[in-house]
């Protein structure tokens, strides 16, 4: 079960909701995100699983305590809490995004928080719910997709071929958006539709829409089901989320790429694209090494953690491929997915539209939605466990106060998801970036470098934290300053190397003699049961 739990934690709803939209909006470069997400999991497994499993530690503070007999609890515990809080906030932001489909996004997020709290209070139920949620996530992502593939075309390279060579993304005469109209869904409360071709838009309900004219100025209009509005290329049509719209057949779908080749290889300046790939790679490759909920799960015992990572990697590869296929098939079968911007849940409505059998489509789409709920429970409960561990082991809090810490973390995450305009993926990037900048280098060096000292580890974490916070704040204050964008969006690019360098420089202990054995605490990380290290060396 650890393998399934690890997979569900790494593939949390905030990441799931980023993969589909990345492929749909960026085309080929959008394939980078799942690839580095997979590589990040592999690296975390390769570097951590064996020694961490043997340590049986649960937090980064445990490692320093084991090696140096000294708890740098406050600093490491505080950082771990901050990373976990960001992770939890990201999941709530994703849940709120999904909640737009019901019309009550905040209610859905609040129900999610209530469920997490109720399950977390019962340790037996907590474990079952976490594992059950992970299983539902896996079933929800794989089974409906398999049905869509079987009902349409299981050869996905052929589907890629079709989408990438499409002459236009236009409304077909049989599209439900043309025949009866559908409610538009997106991430924001007000959706801005970029009009690519002159067309008439009809409305299936009452609401206030605004047309931002291409030549400047805007026109506001109260609409109802009898009204028709003409829009021209270059206009932007602002409509409330959930309003029913009808379009003309054969006209270009607003917000969609003009053609298949435009989708597959969008024109992006080489420098900007390269910086994006690099920033994502550093954040995801190192982020997994320092993510506290992942560390808590990996402490499964020697051998068990390694086996869990091996099986989890296999499962993760399958699920990441599945998520890309969800998006690819959505672009093929339901190009209207582009309308109003793409939210992460939108590709998962595919079974309801593809002909997968009478009555089965809606059921399978519901299973996919339930999978997201299961993933939220699995990731959320693992995050709450990490909060509890940091509180009790690093910050030396009691069991009773840990409950309050968990409740506070839940409330704060919910509040942040309500107040801040950021989507789940943006916040998850911050969580992984902070983990990469602070805890990841301390864990890597702590597990593998004999000469690391406690002072070096703490100095590294402190400097990584300072650089990360400074760059993140600079990003908030400087806005979208192009020259700074790469560093402020992915501060770990600088903060992680700074952390490692500081830890290295502050650990200038004399080189140990070849004849003297390694310290026992260090040796125990690599060989369980070695109680008396040998006194001579063959080197």
């Amino acid at each position: 079960m650890t393998a399934i739990a690890l997979t569900a934690l790494w593939l949390s709803p905030a990441l799931i909701f980023a993969i589909g939209p990345a492929l749909l909006t960026q085309g080929t470069p959008g394939l980078w995100l799942p690839l580095v997400a997979f590589a990040g999991f592999l690296l975390a497994g390769a570097w951590l699983a064996d020694p961490w499993g043997r340590l049986r530690g649960r937090t980064a503070g445990d490692l320093l305590h084991h090696r140096f007999g000294w708890r740098a609890g406050r600093l490491l515990g505080g950082v771990a809490l901050a990373v976990t809080l960001l992770f939890l906030w990201a999941q709530f932001a994703a849940l709120r995004e999904a909640g737009h489909w019901t019309g009550w996004p905040l209610t859905v997020a609040a129900v999610g928080a209530g469920a997490l709290l109720a399950l977390d209070l019962r340790p037996g139920l907590r474990r079952v719910a976490g594992a059950g949620g992970a299983v539902v996530l896996i079933a929800g992502l794989l089974l409906p997709l398999a049905a869509v593939l079987i009902a349409t075309d299981p050869l996905w390279p052929r589907v890629w071929d079709r989408v990438a060579s499409q002459a236009r993304f236009a409304f077909s005469p049989t599209s439900p958006w043309v025949v009866e109209g559908r409610a538009i869904h997106g991430v924001e409360p007000i959706l801005a539709l970029a009009i690519g071709e002159e067309q008439r838009v009809r409305f299936g309900g009452q609401g206030r829409v605004v047309v931002r004219l291409w030549e400047g100025g805007e026109v506001a209009q109260d609409v109802d089901s009898s009204l028709e509005l003409a829009v021209r290329p270059g206009d932007r049509l602002l409509v409330p989320n959930g309003l029913v719209l009808r379009f003309e057949p054969g006209r270009a779908i607003p917000d969609a790429p003009a053609t298949g080749p435009d989708w597959a290889a969008p024109e992006t300046p080489l420098g900007a694209a390269g910086r994006r790939l690099g920033g994502l790679a550093v954040t995801l490759l190192l982020g997994g090494l320092g993510l506290p909920p992942l560390l808590a799960l990996l402490a499964a015992g020697p051998g068990l953690a390694v086996r869990a990572v091996r099986r989890g990697a296999l499962l993760l590869a399958l699920l990441l491929l599945a998520l890309q296929l969800w998006a690819l098939y959505a672009a093929w079968l339901e190009p209207e997915v582009y309308l109003g911007g793409i939210d992460g849940l939108e590709p998962l409505t595919l079974p309801a539209l593809a002909s997968v059998g009478e009555g089965w489509g809606e059921l399978l789409a519901l299973l996919a939605f339930a999978g997201i709920g299961g993933g939220f429970l699995a990731a959320g409960l693992a995050a709450l466990e990490a909060v509890r561990l940091s509180w009790m082991r690093d910050l030396r809090g009691g069991e009773a106060s840990a409950r309050w810490a968990v409740a506070l973390a839940l409330g704060l995450s919910l509040l942040l998801a309500r107040q801040a305009p950021w989507g789940g993926w943006r916040v998850l990037e911050l969580a992984l970036g902070l983990a990469a900048a602070t805890l990841a280098p301390a864990l890597l060096l702590g597990l593998w470098r004999e000469r690391l000292t406690a002072g070096g580890a703490v100095a590294g974490v402190g400097i990584g934290l300072a650089v990360f916070v400074a760059l993140a704040l600079a990003g908030l204050l400087a806005g979208r300053e192009e020259s700074l964008a790469v560093l402020t969006r992915w501060p770990a690019l600088v903060a992680a190397p700074a952390n490692m360098l500081a830890a290295w420089l502050f650990s200038m202990a004399p080189r140990p003699s070849r004849r003297s054995p390694p310290p026992r605490a260090f040796l125990e990380l690599h060989a369980e049961g070695l109680s008396s290290p040998p006194t001579s060396s063959t080197m």
Binding site: T28, L31, D50, A164, A264, P302, L523
Partner: protein, 84 residues
Amino acid sequence: MPSAPRRLAADPRRAIRARRWRALGLTAILLLLLAGVAALLLAPAGPGTVRVLGVALAWWVGGLVAYLVGLGLLLVGLPPSPAE
């Protein structure tokens, strides 16, 4: 060949260093694969569908190879636990 616990007992530093090199090797190969895929993604696309399809299909092949090589390395590359 002596087993992992025996090697550790005989020369712990060398055995730990060997493990570290194996993890570094896996990291280096993964990074090389990622760099290859990144170069492919950043390659300027020429006009026409054929070029676009070439990049796309190359990704599918390259991506799948990266997945499989990564998995394979993880399966054979991780040092066995001395407890096993």
